[in-house]
């Protein structure tokens, strides 16, 4: 038991060190990029060319292969941001603060993609570019939450204060997420007869959801790649006065 505890403590300190993260991510990044490109590429080909048409929505439903992974990531990114923010706040781990900071713009971008693809999905069905249904509206509010966090971060100059304040905001947002989701869904039932929920995924045979699964995995890998890339930039920026960064810069300059 003591050995396990010592092991956990050792990894806790190592993981919390930005330099360690930078070093191991340098090694793993090319593999991760390759994996995500492969998955996304394969998934897209399957989605666009080989998956059968939906009998009701025709070709347009193919947009779900981007919309659903993006929407799922939008939420997961927020949860991850809130979790790292909490860790950074409670245990004052620098790496956690960095991860929390970089998740915000990436999550916001995925939310935006989800919104746009959702709108594109709606156009042929409803004839309008935007529809106030429960899912899109919840996505929009999530987008606003992201914007709030990013604006707060940008407005505070001091790095520590910015990290702590946005951590509190992220936690407040996370507590509110179920409340917002519930009230928006309820609001939607008040105003729309629930006869046709066009955002529902159609009941899918295997050759329809296989590409979806692949795309989901691919998107999640892509998310990890993006987080690592941004985190590396953030690490270099924050640690620019430390010796290892200066040596790194000198080494790359000589190449």
């Amino acid at each position: 038991m003591n050995r396990l505890w010592a092991l956990i403590k050792r990894y806790y300190h190592r993981l919390g060190s930005p330099q360690y993260f930078y070093d191991i991510s340098t090694r793993f990044l090319p593999w991760l990029v390759a994996v995500s490109v492969l998955l996304c590429g394969f998934g897209l080909i399957q989605a666009l060319l080989f998956a059968p048409q939906d009998y009701q929505q025709g070709q347009t439903f193919r947009i779900i292969y981007i919309h659903v992974p993006a929407a799922s990531l939008a939420l997961s990114a927020y949860l991850m941001m809130a979790l790292s923010a909490a860790i950074g706040l409670i245990w004052k781990m620098k790496m956690a603060e960095i991860i929390a900071k970089v998740c915000a713009p990436i999550g916001a971008s995925f939310t935006f993609i989800a919104l746009v693809t959702g709108a594109i999905w709606g156009k042929p069905t409803w004839g309008t570019w935007w529809i106030w249904d429960a899912r899109l509206t919840s996505m929009l509010i999530l987008f606003f939450l992201y914007l709030g966090i990013m604006s707060l971060h940008a407005a505070i100059q001091n790095t520590q204060t910015a990290a702590k304040s946005t951590a509190i905001l992220a936690l407040v947002g996370v507590v509110n997420l179920p409340i917002i989701k519930y009230s928006v869904e309820w609001w939607n039932t008040l105003h729309q007869p629930a006869t046709f929920k066009f955002m529902q995924k159609p009941a899918m045979p295997a050759d329809m959801w296989m590409p979806l699964l692949i795309m989901m995995l691919g998107f999640y890998c892509l998310f990890v790649v993006l987080v690592i890339l941004r985190a590396r930039c953030e690490i270099i920026d924050r640690e620019r006065r430390s010796r290892w960064v200066k040596e790194l810069i000198l080494a790359t300059k000589q190449d």
Binding site: Q157, N158, T159, R241
Partner: protein, 195 residues
């Protein structure tokens, strides 16, 4: 640290009862930041502040009850009168004591006018009046003599001496030259930033 610049490091000193500690240094050397760290408002990047052997973070309530901090801002509400402000800041003080303190600092006749009618120097004197009526052991004062005339300055100097003679502690920053017996004033010098 301020904006990633190290203001001071490896600073360590002890404050004894009955002493006045003056933090000295050039402008921008971090005097105000040090005071704010000592009060607990600002967390130090590394290091600890100990009060009777325990970090102040662990005894926030006790430390708060033992400390009077007067910073750059007066810390009084301008819609309230000096008496009302003192009643809020020092609820245990009697009205007579407050009146006496205000008179001592030359504010008699202004006790009942709202503080927005007072000048900057007068507002500072209202803030400092708190030191007369509230007898907490540790005083941390950031430039207490600004906006004071000669009379006010000597009054406050006398107050500081009386406080330390009764066993209290004062930590302050000031550009003003002390007219006090320099034996009871101890200086802590903040140098330029080390890197």
């Amino acid at each position: 640290m301020r904006d990633d610049a190290v203001l001071f490091s490896a600073l360590s000193f002890q404050v004894e009862a009955g002493s006045i500690t003056q933090i000295m240094g050039a402008n921008g050397s971090g005097k105000t930041s040090l005071l704010r760290i000592l009060t607990g408002i600002m967390p130090a990047e590394s290091g600890r502040v100990l009060w009777f052997g325990q970090t102040i973070g662990k005894q926030r309530v006790e430390y708060g009850a033992a400390l009077t901090f007067i910073g750059h801002l007066p810390g009084i509400k301008s819609q309230l009168t000096p008496l009302e402000n003192l009643a809020w800041l020092a609820p245990e003080a009697s009205v007579e004591a407050c009146n006496l303190a205000l008179r001592e600092l030359g504010l008699s006749g202004f006790e009942d006018s709202p503080c927005y009618r007072l000048s900057a120097g007068q507002k500072r004197r209202v803030a400092l009046a708190r030191l007369y009526v509230q007898q907490r052991p540790l005083w941390i004062l950031d430039e207490p003599f600004t906006s004071l005339d000669k009379n006010g300055v000597s009054k406050i100097e006398a107050l500081l001496c009386a406080h330390t003679q009764a066993g209290g502690m004062v930590i302050l920053t000031t550009h003003h030259e002390f007219a006090l017996d320099s034996a009871c004033v101890r200086e802590v010098m903040l140098g330029t930033a080390l890197c």
